[in-house]
């Protein structure tokens, strides 16, 4: 019953009621209704449902294995939810692909491109297919593509096919395209053949049967009594029993594209009634689901605290732990105190409240620091810094050579350093690989590693040409959209004195800007246009007054690249009570300022339209937004309007300098 304690604010008050709840919780296996030791068949959902969502126990069929219909139901829901348990792969190992045919695209406005618009179409299909309700839920990849006359044949993983089929008749580059499924998996579609494949399929079916989508609960209680596992004689020999759990965890990992989807999909696990004497067999749970919130270990044979030792310093996010029904309770009367000290976010132990939300909040990282996390300190003047940032990153992703001539001059310095030791995303979204930094190390100017003067000198790039060459040596990038993905950015700016005066009139320098930006980017494969690696960066610019085409020039540009670190650190601790100074990334979305969108056009759609128009026309976001505003948010009309007036638009209407 761990799952129902998901919302501890309402659950488990102190006092006798809490004790009663604690006893009710002794049965850690109510939800699944697995036939375990004859007790679990009766639902003991004594507490009221904790939220508006209906309690899953009321609807889950009793008596063991879910019916086939229920399984399909779970899969169907998983497929439509933000967080997906993958639609079962027909052949997970070889990744059988599904072929789709795209037609109608060759008459588009992009047909003038060198490849007839194929590459931009593929890029658009991937982007659009990855987007649902404005948020990227998974990154859809087109694995293979070829053209046959007017047909574009693409191959994608089976779980991506649905999203693409739904895009049939969508408008792209001025025309509507047709997308049809060419039939099921086209290769390796045969039923699992090898023993390993069969085992995988079996484990997957066990997991799916024991997973409840509504409560995000994975019930692994009473595995020894599981009929399907018994049939496989898994627990008959010690060696298979030991391998079984890690294998199941591996299959669970394979079921999700990304770790964060897995963490979001499974927040509660029960390992009750498994005769566990220690945690060695199940230890991999903490690696597969490190962000678990609720864990039930009741009715095992854990006899002292040390048997839990390997999960100390694991499960940082654990909110509720159940240990009732273990010998430990009698053997070590003070175990509760110890356990509470292990898990800083624990609110309940055995259904009894051990910390209030306030107490947890006070303990959380940084909350006690005298420098709480606030929103960005962005002290702009006349929108100069903001305009620079918008233009810069658009240019860095699309045309670095033009960017170098636009913002850098003969006295501009650029260098970058790689921090290979940086802490990575606490959510563990990206894996570190061998040779991870190969493409960067050659010119990295990390003074901690580069100790000799000549390489320090050589790795400083001065002047437009040197900067452009250095840029060209870096992997192609894609930064998140500044408007629609503002939370992935931390952008701060302030005026600083003493910046060199390019006119030489003021010997002691003039006022300029210091801009510091932390964020992330994806490395893009130049051949396929596919994103392949996510990284984080910190970048410091010194801007001075410009003498060339731009209002400003870059005096200094220092970049640090490091392992992907997520964006959690940018979230303010407590938005209330702080006097926020101008924070452009919160206001950045030009659409939000519009205020009046026609019915049927949501903010997300509007933002996508603005981004798309900017992409297709090269206009700034602001101009794109104004343009769409004028034509009543009709995208096609916006493109037509642009075509009519584009020759009369000022240069400032465009993201890129026209060089």
């Amino acid at each position: 019953m761990v799952a129902r304690h998901n919302t501890p604010r309402t659950a488990a008050p102190r006092g006798p009621a809490a004790t009663r709840r604690g006893r009710a919780d002794r049965d850690g296996d109510v939800v699944m209704g697995m036939p375990i030791k004859g007790r679990a068949a009766v639902s003991k959902s004594t507490g009221p449902p904790t939220g508006p969502r209906r309690d899953a126990t009321l609807r889950t069929p009793r008596g063991g294995i879910l019916s086939a219909t229920a399984q399909r139901e779970i899969l169907r829901k998983a497929g439509t939810s933000d967080m997906t348990m993958k639609e079962a792969r027909t052949s997970a190992a070889k990744g059988g692909l599904v072929e789709l045919k795209v037609t109608g695209w060759n008459k588009s406005k992009a047909s003038g491109d060198a490849d007839g618009g194929v590459s931009s179409l593929i890029k658009w299909l991937e982007k659009k297919g990855s987007t649902k309700l404005g948020s990227r839920v998974r990154s859809l990849k087109i694995r293979k593509s070829r053209t046959e006359g007017s047909d574009l044949l693409i191959k994608v993983a089976p779980e991506d096919a649905g999203a693409l089929v739904r895009m049939n008749n969508y408008g792209w580059a001025g025309i509507n395209i047709t997308i049809e499924l060419m039939g099921g998996p086209v290769q390796d579609s045969a039923a699992p053949c090898s023993e390993a494949e069969k085992t995988k399929a079996m484990l997957r079916s066990v997991l799916e049967r024991r997973y409840d989508f509504e409560t995000k609960f994975l019930n692994l209680s009473g595995l020894g009594a599981d009929e399907e596992l018994k049939k496989q004689h898994i627990f008959d020999s010690k060696s298979t029993a030991g391998k079984f759990f890690p294998a199941m965890m591996r299959v669970l990992e394979l079921s999700f594209d990304k770790p964060e989807e897995r963490h979001a999909a499974v927040t509660s696990v029960s390992l009750a009634n498994n005769d566990l004497e220690d945690l060695s067999v199940v230890s991999t749970l903490s690696l597969t689901l490190p962000k678990l919130q609720n864990l039930d270990l009741s009715n095992n044979k854990l006899d002292k605290l040390s048997t839990l030792g390997i999960w100390r310093k694991r499960f940082f996010h654990l909110q509720h732990l159940i240990l009732t029904g273990n010998p430990l309770e009698q053997n070590d009367p003070n175990y509760a105190q110890e356990i509470v000290s292990w898990y800083p976010n624990l609110r309940q132990l055995n259904g009894i409240q051990v910390r209030t939300e306030d107490e947890v909040a006070k303990r959380t990282k940084g909350a006690e620091l005298p420098f709480p996390i606030r929103s960005a300190l962005f002290q702009d003047e006349g929108g100069i810094a903001e305009q620079f940032i918008r233009t810069f990153f658009m240019g860095f992703d699309s045309d670095r050579a033009a960017l170098a001539t636009h913002y850098y001059d003969d006295n501009s310095d650029f260098s970058y350093a790689v921090n290979t030791q940086a802490p990575s995303d606490p959510a563990g979204a990206e894996k570190i690989e061998r040779g991870e930094w190969e493409g960067y190390i050659k010119n990295s100017r990390n003074l901690k590693k580069i100790t000799q003067l000549p390489p320090r000198q050589n790795r400083l790039f001065r002047g437009t040409k040197a900067v452009a060459d250095a840029f060209a040596s870096l992997p192609k990038t894609k930064h998140p959209d500044l408007a629609s993905e503002a939370r992935k950015w931390m952008i701060e700016a302030k005026m600083v004195p003493g910046v060199p005066d390019p006119t030489g009139q003021s010997a002691s320098g003039v006022d300029g800007f210091k801009i510091t930006i932390s964020g992330e980017f994806e490395e893009v494969d130049t051949a396929t246009g596919q994103a392949k690696k996510k990284r984080s960066f910190d970048r410091t610019f010194i801007l001075g007054p410009g003498t060339g085409p731009a209002v400003v020039r870059i005096v200094n540009d220092i970049l640090t690249v490091r392992a992907y670190g997520g964006a959690q650190a940018f979230e303010p601790d407590n938005a209330e009570g702080w006097n926020m100074e101008a924070a452009p990334q919160q206001q950045a979305a030009p659409v939000e300022a519009a205020g009046q969108l026609p019915a049927g056009i949501s903010l997300e759609i509007a933002e996508q339209m603005v981004a798309e128009l900017t992409k297709q026309t090269g206009m700034t976001l602001q101009y794109s937004k104004d343009c769409l505003d004028q034509v009543g948010w009709n995208f096609e009309a916006g493109l037509e309007a642009f075509a009519r007036v584009k020759d009369s638009l000022p240069p400032t209407a465009f993201m890129q300098p026209t060089t």
Partner: protein
Amino acid sequence: MATLTEVDYTRVSTDAAERFVDLYYTALNGARNTISSFYLPTVTQENGRTLPHISYNGEHVSDAKSFQERWEKQMPYTHFEAQSVNVHVMNPCILPMEGKSKRDAERNMSLIVQVSGSVRLEERKAGPLRGFSDSFILVPNKEEVGGRGTGKQDTGKKWLIQSQTFRFVV
């Protein structure tokens, strides 16, 4: 009149950055009563803005004394590790340099330093580990730029923080 070569600028700036970073984070970890000595004494510019400008996790702290006080009185255990350090010369010549020596020229520039690293908070080894990004504009410690100078024995800090932007980034 002495002019510096590009290699001179690189030598001076990288030496200064390394030394500064070592001393500064050591002070944050264990010599907090010296923190304010790393900063320019507070001055008000003609435009009304004050220096040094410290931006710490989004908060503008305008004088080094109160910054130090918070570190001394409220900050739990910290262990900063600078994992990556880089520096550029921001302004190679902040004051007219007619007829000055090379040694003077080496102390007539401003620097921009970027640091990326990790910090262990609250508790040695077991405390939460965060990633940080820190960037500084350093100016020579001279009376002309508002500093008090390095003293007769040249014992004071050679470079002072005029501007800083610190953020937890992981």
